[in-house]
Symmetry: C2
Subunit: 178 residues, 2 copies
DNA sequence: GTTGCCATGTAAGGTGTTACATGATTTA
DNA sequence: TAAATCATGTAACACCTTACATGGCAAC
């Protein structure tokens, strides 16, 4: 699984430039790439060399030429094959859990503060996601099934943070009770 | 946050060799590093150069010399400082969600199969974690508070996969209903 | 007049994985 | 006879991030 597949995914909807793709990645919450130039522009070169996309260069007067990439038949085939791959388990890296692993050296007040900070961060993130979800996001809309899929993808993120919030609140309570 | 902090964490309990550390990382589920040689042996060299650990070389007859690393006062200070850092949000990379994003191109039966595969994987992982948790794991045990922390760390993982399982089951039902 | 948008890219460095290399001892 | 354990390390490569570089136009 690499960013190239996600790029092919976006291009399967419409032709885009590197700049467009960068924005798509930055706006997306479920797609976990940051959308940095290095990755995107180099991926596009690779995809082009592999014949999975075509490139149309459109000159502009005062701005750099736009390079508009379109997916090819081979590209669509590669995308489909990747989507059919047996899914892998998520990769979850929660550095807060690592901090907690060695947090017994802290004073009660320090630990309490640490836990509260995490709780607040999770809460803020959750609210952000809920808001973004509520005001109907950038999801595609060409079939009932696709709408369902995108709704469920959003709900995955939200339920993750909701679950995390519950967990950290319980942690705070248990520590207080001790 | 890097693997060096986790290495200092382990060394804060007892002196260890690179080989020991490798095992610790491989056995741990919450610590998300795989414990590959390259990372561990290079980190130990760095930590030694920075004066955060000391090295004792003990020759052996037929095996390579054991290099036993111990944490220094500076090392303990660095560990404590890191634990006190404001916690960051978890990094969640779920490639299955990316697959779903472009899964509307699949036939109903293909999509159903994809979802089922993911459900099974999550279920297996959850059972594994629950089992590992049940037969009292490799958690440290020097204070009530530390026991509480480690119990809560395990419960974080378990509730994550439980939540993920619920989510994918709902997804399956909604797709069927469609 | 500074910030943001458009649009391309490169450089440098950190992080992480898989595989290679050696070689004796114990266990199945 | 094959494998796992002990114990060190290196090589090659993939992935990812931050910052740098250019430069015009529009908006506030």
């Amino acid at each position: 699984m690499s960013i190239k597949h996600a790029i092919l995914g976006f291009l399967s909807w419409e032709p885009l430039t590197g700049y467009d793709l960068k924005k798509r990645f930055m706006e997306s919450t479920t797609l976990y790439w940051t959308g940095n130039n290095n990755q995107i522009y180099r991926s596009l070169v690779d995809l082009h060399q592999d014949g999975l996309v075509t490139k149309e260069v459109r000159q502009q007067e005062k701005l750099p030429a736009r390079k508009i990439y379109s997916i090819t038949a081979d590209g669509r085939k590669a995308l489909r094959e990747w989507v059919l791959q047996p899914p892998e388990l998520p990769q979850l890296k929660n550095s807060f859990l690592v901090q907690l692993s060695w947090a017994d050296q802290l004073a009660d007040s320090e630990l309490e503060h640490l836990v509260e900070s995490y709780q607040e961060e999770v809460q803020v993130k959750l609210l952000m996601l809920q808001e973004q979800f509520a005001r109907g996001n950038n999801a595609p809309d060409r079939s009932a099934r696709e709408r369902l899929l995108w709704r469920r993808i959003s709900s995955n993120m939200i339920s993750y943070y909701q679950n995390e919030l519950n967990w950290v609140q319980e942690l705070g309570q248990e520590l207080e009770a001790l």
